[in-house]
Symmetry: none
Subunit: 233 residues, 2 copies
DNA sequence: ATTTTTACTTAACAAGATTTAACTGGCCTC
DNA sequence: GAGGCCAGTTAAATCTTGTTAAGTAAAAAT
């Protein structure tokens, strides 16, 4: 059996951390949460992780301290910091403490996934399974090239179209919550972004109309579900 | 045994210099530190360096003075300046004193590495272990000779074309941020340079149009991604 | 020394992507 | 079945990217 990549996520904002875990899970990562630096350290000593994502600002022990401690265990586990946007000093401090990368808040979850995968690619070389082509009924959707094809026509999708369709395709025949999609792709789930997402749902529906077995349905008040016939993996 | 590239780093902020050394070391460079211009000069007379990275603002003897002195030893050792972002005058002075390139603070370490490697590529021609030939679908891209070939046609690329394509090729199938590219290649990420980069993206797309599996796609508001089929290493 | 070539930048405009706005209709509750 | 919220659609506005051509400056050639 294939081993899942294991991520240790230290973040004191529980909202955020639950959300991130959910998303990482959907992407096939196993994620353990720690609400502060001390808990993070404890978790790190008990389990073997492939990657650590540490908030810089945390109670009890901040991310920088924690990173140093992790490095002291002479671990070469890659570390990604989450920092507030302006804190250039944090970033420097972070690199000194042995960080591999950092992301400034606010960030979209896609961004996090992207960095995680970039690091896994660099370090492990393998282990990134990251599906990049989905088969949806008669459609083929290449997330790398941002191309949706059916029969012999290829349609180039825009970035947002790709992001949204990727999210839906990663959860075919399962519901994706509106807010989850908004926060994943648009970062903020305010009124206007919600309208914007509506617009993109409309666009995707048009793009997907050539196969009657494929479509996006709305679950009132909850979210959307991409419907497509099951295919062999 | 392969000789390491030797870098002389003159920088009075010890935090920063230690950090840079660590990073350069990780990238396979040997780095000597000097905390001020005089120490830098002394070090330079004693050792042979492949490249000098000088902070402009330093106690005792500033980077400009030091560069002049280094040039007086009729050395052709490449020099990179570190300057504060706003100090346009420094940059002019620096070039007058014989600089090869400069980086404005704050900069990312990737940026520094990239510049160092670009210079090594230009000057030494050798010694950079960094991959110097990329295989992009049916294309072969020789960064040393600045030649892009497909089938039996060879196209000579200009310096800027080469730099941009190298940056993209070094991150195939991954996004390169617009600003990163701008700051790395054009040094400053202002409006006009951004337009200029657009122009070069267009040129590269034209050059790459003979293999449908290769292309540069835009990630709206973020950056570019060079798409190419995966090849065995 | 003058012309020619080359690399690159600036300008101007066209096309594309995304968001905002305005309006329409559906669904859900009471 | 009326009122309120949620979703769908379309078009306009805004912002980003793409393209082409003209402009500039330095290098190379004559």
């Amino acid at each position: 059996m294939e081993e899942k990549t294991k991520i240790l996520l230290c973040e004191d904002d529980e909202n955020l951390s639950m959300l991130l875990r959910e998303y990482l899970q959907a992407k096939g990562y196993h994620t353990d949460l720690a609400p502060d630096g001390e808990a993070g350290y404890k978790a790190f000593t008990k389990e073997k992780y492939d990657i650590c994502v540490l908030d810089v600002m945390m109670p009890k022990k901040d991310g920088i301290e924690l990173a140093k401690d992790i490095r002291n265990l002479n671990s070469d586990c890659p570390i990604i910091f989450l920092t507030a946007k302006t804190m250039k000093e944090d970033i420097l401090e972070g690199f000194k403490a042995g960080a591999d990368d950092y992301i400034s808040k606010p960030f979209s979850m896609e961004e996090l996934i992207f960095r995680v995968e970039a690091i896994m690619r660099r370090t492990k070389g393998k282990k990134v399974k990251e599906k990049d082509t989905y088969y949806l009924g008669k459609y083929t959707f290449d997330t790398q090239r941002q191309i949706l094809s059916i029969a012999d026509s290829q349609i180039k999708l825009t970035t947002k179209e790709t992001e949204l369709l990727t999210l839906l395709a990663a959860n075919v025949n399962e519901m994706v919550e509106r807010n989850f999609a908004l926060r994943t792709i648009w970062i903020d789930d305010n009124y206007f972004n919600a309208r914007s997402m509506d617009v993109y749902i409309t666009k995707l529906r048009k793009l997907l109309k050539d196969d009657p077995d494929v479509g996006i349905i709305n679950i009132h008040g909850k979210g959307y579900k991409l419907i497509a016939p099951k295919t062999e993996e």
